[in-house]
């Protein structure tokens, strides 16, 4: 790891980190980037592993998304994060791509990021100045841009252990059934009390702003409710209102605002049902 950080810190030209390569190689093949240095981090000790720690889970930067779906403990604790990671690209792509890569690519439409933000995930960063940990939502700063300094590598994503009656869910809207990119997406994470009242909530929206949005107003609406129809209606309206999308080849402003609310409502319903089942 020190060597990788050293190479990146010392590089004079464009440098790129290679894990699964499902973004980098496509960009290189398309002629969008021609890096002078590529650092392949897959062989660094421990970086290809999912570890259960005292605090929860540590998912290494080179863990392919397919492996998230094979980890029963992770799937049970964070079903929404796992389902988001397993929507990326195709089956073949999921055998290579990683959630850290998905995060560092800094696309507002990244599938795993809204789920990670809703989950309150943190990024563990190693760099020339040592190690630091930041909230996942603090990593992307704009489309294609991150807050990482020169020489810094995210070596793992950290997820907390779950309290009882907690669950998350992720939904995205795509015009096709698979192999597509989110036009709008929503991640919702909930904790309930024994009476089924929501005690904690996080709601994140994808592809409706330059970076993933954490909608605190939506969380406030959910907390204290039992996800009843009136609450869900308010949640839908709050998410539509919070969305700041653009018109582009994938959708219109009006469409994205409406569907952001619909996705959030549906994801909240799924998360609520999941949490109640535990």
């Amino acid at each position: 790891m020190e060597e990788a950080v050293g190479l990146l810190t010392g590089s004079a030209g464009t440098a790129a980190i290679l894990a699964g390569g499902s973004d980098l190689l496509v960009r290189m093949k398309g002629g969008f980037t021609e890096p002078d240095l590529i650092v392949d981090i897959k062989s660094i000790d421990g970086i290809g592993e999912i570890r259960q720690t005292a605090e929860g889970f540590s998912i290494g930067a080179a863990v392919p998304c397919a492996m998230l779906g094979e980890n029963e403990a992770l799937k049970r604790a964070w079903p929404g994060v796992v389902e988001a990671a397993r929507l990326i690209g195709s089956k073949q792509v999921q055998g290579r791509c990683t959630i850290v890569g998905n995060l560092c690519n800094a696309s507002p439409a990244a599938d795993s990021v809204p789920a990670l933000v809703a989950a309150g995930a943190r990024a563990s960063i190693v760099g020339p100045a040592g190690r630091r940990t930041i909230a996942v939502e603090a990593v992307p700063t704009a489309p294609g841009k991150t807050s990482l300094a020169k020489g810094e590598i995210i070596d793992a994503i950290l997820l907390d252990e779950r309290p009882a009656r907690s669950a998350d869910a992720y939904l995205r809207f795509i015009p096709r059934t698979e192999m597509d990119i989110a036009v709008v997406s929503a991640g919702v994470s909930l904790t309930l009390d024994t009476a089924g009242t929501i005690t904690a909530a996080r709601v994140a929206l994808g592809a409706v702003a330059p970076t993933v949005l954490l909608v605190e107003e939506a969380a406030r609406i959910l907390v204290g409710s039992k996800a009843d129809e009136a609450t869900l209606q308010k949640l839908e309206e709050a998410c539509s209102a919070a969305s700041r999308p653009i018109d582009d080849k994938r959708g219109t402003v009006a469409f994205r605002k409406q569907v952001a609310g619909v996705m959030a409502r549906r994801a909240a319903t799924i998360a609520y049902t999941r949490a109640g089942d535990r």
Partner: protein, 754 residues
């Protein structure tokens, strides 16, 4: 003895069975050689520099820096492709498209090309070419391009087909008109009239294999081209004309093809590869990227169509009109005309009029796409037919049956029909279990009809009988959909031998006479005609050899079930001679045994289809799901039913993609926004249900087995069938294709808002 192509009822042995295709094993094991799989020693890598501007005058091209780069062996511009087209406008358009001459006319238009020792050097060289552009105003929308204020692409284009010819140039290249009867009088008799306007966005064929070739031009004026194409003889003709070669000195070998659907019916980069090879003195391989395929090959037209149909209370259509505006890209094509011809071809109409406008825009040159122009016209017409049926409170199928064309109907585009399948496909659809299946909430059913002409054309085949009695069949029509299997079955049928004993190959241009390309659903129709004719010629030789062996008159030798049989009492003791036995002795009876045929396959039978589909719409997101899809189509005679079904399913699948999601999206800068399969959404497997098929066989009177072309008609009804289904499910009439979720949701919200 002349060849008699007339239909004769018979019992088949081989035809109608479903054997494994001869190219199947190579294709599933990855051994099949596609365009990019050819390589030559010392070959260079070709790459093309493309305009980033939708419309720009090229003031100067400076290639000196690129030429000086180590590893660069040739740089070409339009100066290396002088105009040899001699007033042939169609060829000039192809030349101008291959390499811009003076003006870049769309985002992606080729402006220069290099050949270098590797791809990295070639890409580097492209960046060193300096082009001085004068950017001009552009227009990409078909309706905008027709306005008098629109930027004009060519100062030399004055609308053809209007009297008097306009004195000002415009983007309307031509007006055409079809129909008969008295429209005013017809609408006067109508109790109900529906009139609507429709738009369809531009789509690409979406073939998986990009254009690819290896060109090797020699200093003695000969050249070879290995290429992925739907017609290697046509590519030979185009390249020879554009480069000033003699056709016999340019040998073109076709590779396997990873899809064409009309997009590989004329040359794109091949003349550039030959020009690079000629200049470099080495072979050049040129493979387009997907980005280049989208930006600079030949998608189909975007359209804007108005339709008006009137009917009496009893359900008889009294008059029908359509005005069709089709985008052509920067050069004239007969796309709106084909739309105008096919619009009302399914119906028996007393009063009908269609007008087509060919519109030039700053988008890539439009090429054929599977029944070119017919799907958009069918979408507009069949939508109005559905709406009119509702107004009449008639069942949509019954309304169509009542007005369907039949034998003896004068078609809206002129000819009088022979025996045709529109009535039978409608009856079959009416009686199909799909029509009666229950529908759930937010689900809708739609149906629509479609027509395509089909084509015959020039064809030449060879049958050679080997010394062991196995048979090789050489054809000149590219196999795009399983025709080698079908044609082997036809040869086996005629010769009376097993299918496994026939091996069909697609021969290169130096091994056979000229063949038209595989388009117009002509591959199996025309080449099976020539194959039957060639087999019958071979049988004549086989009979002669048997007669010679037996020393009896050839008239007394018949050909039955793969054997020569001496006919008559006096030859009672002669055992029959098998094809294998005759072939084994060929060396002593006159040499190799072969059958040859060259003909123009006239009488391609027209083709009709009726499709039914069920769609579910999510009213909160506009998302659609195709629940069930049924294709009913007339094949004349299905030679290999599996491949006929494959054509039906393939057309429906492409139509579903077109109807729901596929579209070229241009920015205000005139540049294509979605030149890749991520944002140009063709359906993936999980988007489609199993597409059910029903083959009808109404024999084509102009083919010995009754065969009609089947490849194209299947894409004509889907846009309309799906639009009718979505409109029924969503409760609002959809008039803009593709019916993407944002368009459906906007329509639903618009309807709710009143």
């Amino acid at each position: 003895m002349g060849f008699d192509p007339r239909y004769l009822e018979r019992n088949f042995t081989s035809v109608g069975t479903r054997p494994v295709r001869p190219d199947g094993l190579d294709k599933v094991t990855g051994r099949a050689r596609y365009g990019a799989d050819f390589n030559m020693a010392g070959q260079l890598v070709g790459a093309i520099l493309r305009s980033p501007h939708a419309h720009a005058r090229i003031r100067n091209i400076d290639t000196s820096k690129a030429e000086k780069l180590a590893g660069v062996k040739a740089v070409v511009t339009s100066a290396d492709l002088p105009d040899l087209t001699d007033g042939n406008a169609e060829m000039y358009a192809i030349l101008d498209n291959c390499m811009a001459r003076g003006k870049a006319l769309y985002d992606g238009h080729a402006v220069a090309a290099v050949a270098a020792i590797d791809a990295r050097t070639a890409r580097k060289a492209l960046k060193l070419i300096e082009i001085d552009y004068e950017v001009l105003p552009h227009v990409t929308d078909v309706d905008e391009a027709m306005k008098p204020t629109a930027p004009v692409l060519h100062e030399t284009v004055f609308t053809e087909g209007v009297e008097p010819t306009p004195d000002k140039p415009s983007n309307v290249a031509k007006r055409t008109q079809y129909g008969h009867g008295d429209i005013e009088a017809g609408f006067g008799q109508a109790d109900f009239i529906v009139e609507r306007s429709f738009k369809t966005e531009q789509t690409h064929q979406g073939y998986i294999e990009p254009h690819a070739c290896v060109a090797n031009a020699n200093s003695d004026g000969t050249a070879d081209l290995w290429v992925c194409t739907q017609g290697h003889f046509v590519y030979r003709q185009h390249c020879a004309e554009l480069l000033g070669l003699e056709v016999s000195k340019l040998r073109v070998t076709s590779s396997e093809i990873g899809g064409g659907f009309g997009g590989k019916t004329h040359v794109w980069a091949e003349p550039v590869a030959l020009a690079l090879s000629r200049k470099a003195g080495r072979p050049v391989k040129l493979v387009m990227t997907r980005d280049e395929v989208f930006r600079a090959s030949g998608p189909t037209s975007a359209t804007s169509i108005d339709v008006k149909i009137g009917a009496r209370k009893d359900g008889t259509i009294t008059a029908a009109t359509a005005t069709l505006r089709y985008s052509c890209g920067p050069w004239y094509g007969m796309w709106a005309e084909l739309g105008a011809m096919t619009s009302f071809a399914c119906y028996n109409l007393e009063n009908v009029k269609t007008v087509g406008y060919e519109v030039l825009v700053n988008r890539p040159k439009v090429a054929a796409y599977r029944a070119p122009s017919a799907p958009m016209a069918a979408f507009a017409v069949e939508s109005v037919i559905d709406e009119l049926a509702k107004k009449l409170e008639m069942d949509a199928v019954e309304f169509r049956i009542r007005n369907a064309a039949r034998e003896g109907t004068r078609s809206s585009y002129g000819p009088v029909y022979g025996p045709i399948g529109i009535g039978p496909t409608l009856e079959a659809a009416k009686n199909h279990p799909h029509m009666k299946a229950p529908l759930g909430k937010n689900q809708g059913r739609g149906m629509a009809c479609g027509f395509w002409f089909n084509f015959g054309g020039q064809t030449c085949t060879d049958i050679n009988i080997g010394p062991d009695g196995s048979v090789s069949l050489a054809v000149g029509t590219m196999d795009v959909g399983g025709s080698r299997a079908s044609l082997s079955m036809v040869a086996a049928e005629e010769l009376g031998i097993p299918y496994e004993n026939v091996k069909a190959v697609v021969a290169d241009t130096s091994s056979l006479g000229y063949n038209d390309m595989t388009d117009g659903s002509r591959g199996t129709f025309s080449t099976s005609l020539a194959t039957i004719s060639a087999a019958r010629n071979a049988i004549q030789v086989l009979r002669e050899r048997a007669a010679q062996t037996w020393d009896i008159p050839v008239e007394d030798v018949a050909w039955e079930k793969g054997h020569a049989v001496a006919k008559g009492e006096k030859y009672g003791n002669l055992p029959s001679l098998s094809l294998k036995e005759i072939a084994a002795k060929a060396g002593n009876t006159g040499g190799p045994i072969a059958g040859h045929s060259e003909l123009v396959a006239d009488g391609a039978g027209v083709s009709f289809a009726t499709h039914i589909c069920d769609i579910e719409v999510d009213p909160q997101t506009g998302a659609t799901k195709v629940l069930r899809y049924t294709v009913v189509q007339d094949a004349g005679k299905a030679v290999h039913p599996t491949y006929v079904e494959g054509q039906y399913q393939g057309g429906a699948a492409q139509g579903i993609g077109w109807a729901l999601n596929e579209e070229y999206i241009y920015g205000t800068d005139g540049r294509l926004q979605n030149a890749g399969f991520l944002d140009y959404r063709i359906p993936v497997c999980s988007d489609l249900p199993m597409i059910d098929t029903q083959i009808l066989e109404i024999p084509n009177p102009n083919h010995p087995y009754g065969v009609r072309g089947v490849g194209e008609t299947s894409i004509v009804p889907p846009l309309a069938a799906i639009a009718n289904a979505v409109s029924n499910a969503a409760g609002v009439r959809m008039t803009h294709i593709p019916m993407s979720p944002p368009r459906i949701l906007a329509a639903i919200k618009g309807e709710q808002a009143g």
